[in-house]
Symmetry: none
Subunit: 174 residues, 4 copies
Amino acid sequence: MARPRNTESDAAILAAAATSLRSGGYDALLVDDLAKRIGVAKTTVYRRWPTKNHLVASAIASWQGEVEPPDTGSLERDLVAIVTDLAELLDPAPIRRMVAELVAASQREPELRRQVDALWQSRRDAMRQLLNDDESPVLDQLFGAVFYRALVAHEKLDADYAAALVRSTLAGGR
Amino acid sequence: MARPRNTESDAAILAAAATSLRSGGYDALLVDDLAKRIGVAKTTVYRRWPTKNHLVASAIASWQGEVEPPDTGSLERDLVAIVTDLAELLDPAPIRRMVAELVAASQREPELRRQVDALWQSRRDAMRQLLNDDESPVLDQLFGAVFYRALVAHEKLDADYAAALVRSTLAGGR
Amino acid sequence: MARPRNTESDAAILAAAATSLRSGGYDALLVDDLAKRIGVAKTTVYRRWPTKNHLVASAIASWQGEVEPPDTGSLERDLVAIVTDLAELLDPAPIRRMVAELVAASQREPELRRQVDALWQSRRDAMRQLLNDDESPVLDQLFGAVFYRALVAHEKLDADYAAALVRSTLAGGR
Amino acid sequence: MARPRNTESDAAILAAAATSLRSGGYDALLVDDLAKRIGVAKTTVYRRWPTKNHLVASAIASWQGEVEPPDTGSLERDLVAIVTDLAELLDPAPIRRMVAELVAASQREPELRRQVDALWQSRRDAMRQLLNDDESPVLDQLFGAVFYRALVAHEKLDADYAAALVRSTLAGGR
DNA sequence: AGCTAAGCGAGACGGTACGTCCAGTCTTTCG
DNA sequence: CGAAAGACTGGACGTACCGTCTCGCTTAGCT
């Protein structure tokens, strides 16, 4: 019944936030600047996201399309598809940096956690469906390895690695 | 001729920093508070560490216990020992929070990265030695799964999980 | 031809405004709160009064009846009647506070000035009529003394003072 | 033992505050601008005065000139001197505006009141001494008339008026 | 009876200050 | 020179409140 929120503002803010994040990471996103840049009042930002952190979470979530569960007929090929997609997503340094910030922020703020978790949800769903086992640690092994190389080991992530990882996981270590 | 530095201050600062980090992570460590709490001038802190980040790095480095490579005669038992150790280390929420902060900070600041990496080095070395293969993704699968559950999936980490993870990794998924 | 304004809203708004003003003065009157409290839209307030200041002026004016020029047959008694009335009006601290705000606001905003001036007009008219002299500073002396004690000197204002003031003014100082 | 406060900053801040107040009254004094203008961090201002209001109070207190009690041998001439001085002080519109703001603010904040009262103190003292009567309403009549014309009646204040006012006050109305 | 202009509740919006928080640097005095 | 104390710069954050705007709905009164 009241004046509806301007959905263009939502989009503009998210877009601007994403741009800032990509360019210089978390610290490059200044709420004041962002608002000024897109011609919106700071209050309009804070009405939508109570905190810079919340905005960051949304910005990332927004730039992430849904992931379709692959269906190549082969479990291995399907797994490779999913893992490769994630690996290539997490390879660029700016992305690693931001994902790391998000992971940290999601430990601090429960609200944010939900949004960040949602980021990976479709990938998890696709994987669970393929594995057909709700308990198997295989999901952790595959996704974990990718995150681990991105955030902890600082190693390269590409299609070759993804393939090797899936192969190793399916075959077992000795 | 000049007054020597008070080495007790070094220790006190590191200890206080570690305490803060454990309790609330990176953001809970405020240089001002820390100095006041232990009765030291802020300058005394900054004379030793040029930056909060450097201090954090030192604090972490100081508390990293060396991990002895186990030798039970069985590869699986050895792996379970290492993985269980890490899993139990990363189970408590405050630790997760802080590790997440460190991971994020280490993406921001290259200097910090080296120190944070050093934190896990002895575990990596032990694992590499057991695996006897510098390229195998198995290390990523094991450590990655543990970090993943701690930081991304927010799931429990205990000895049972560690054992199941090792078993799954060695046996292979199907 | 169009829907008429709801006159009950006028009254409710004025009443609520007066209450706020009495309780905590100018700063205690928040248009948002006021509207919410009485279940009226902010626009309904602003349709009637273009500004918080205008509303404040009306609120005060509304609670102030017209002042009848007294006619006791004696100039002194008439003057005492008028001055006592004003003095007793301006004695309570909340009123002083608000009058002070109005005086200040009327310096800022010419529009408001007219309304605030109107507040005192009937008293000025009555006085002028009694004095029968458009130039005499006596009006300033009488009204001025009362305002001065209320706003600048922070001294008591009661019937006794009013009588003494009139006496002194008529008699002259020495 | 610690670094002492920079007393020049105190003075510079007060001077800048006074300038702002004179130019446009209370609302023209913006803490941010002020700090920027004199090359000081906002925190340096807030370290000294917890609030804009406190700063305003100090600024006013700092600029109050002492008034010497005149001694011409004639009561009337002495009174005219004092009243003329005040009248000419309060004639310019910007001053009226600011005085009105101060009067209002001093009703709001007790701390401020003391400082604002001090502004007029030496004039009151001089007047009391001349009148030689602690109770006489004559002081209220004279000062009150001037303030009244400045703040309520919006009428001219000059030496002629001051003389007429003193004459009227001494002679009595009728 | 329907059309229309305005009132209304709800709340978004632009704008502008305010006061707070912290990192890192600088300055003073003492030992 | 080292250390304690704390002032200082600098810059972002989130809050508060004003006055305007835009919805969708309601209510006269004119045709």
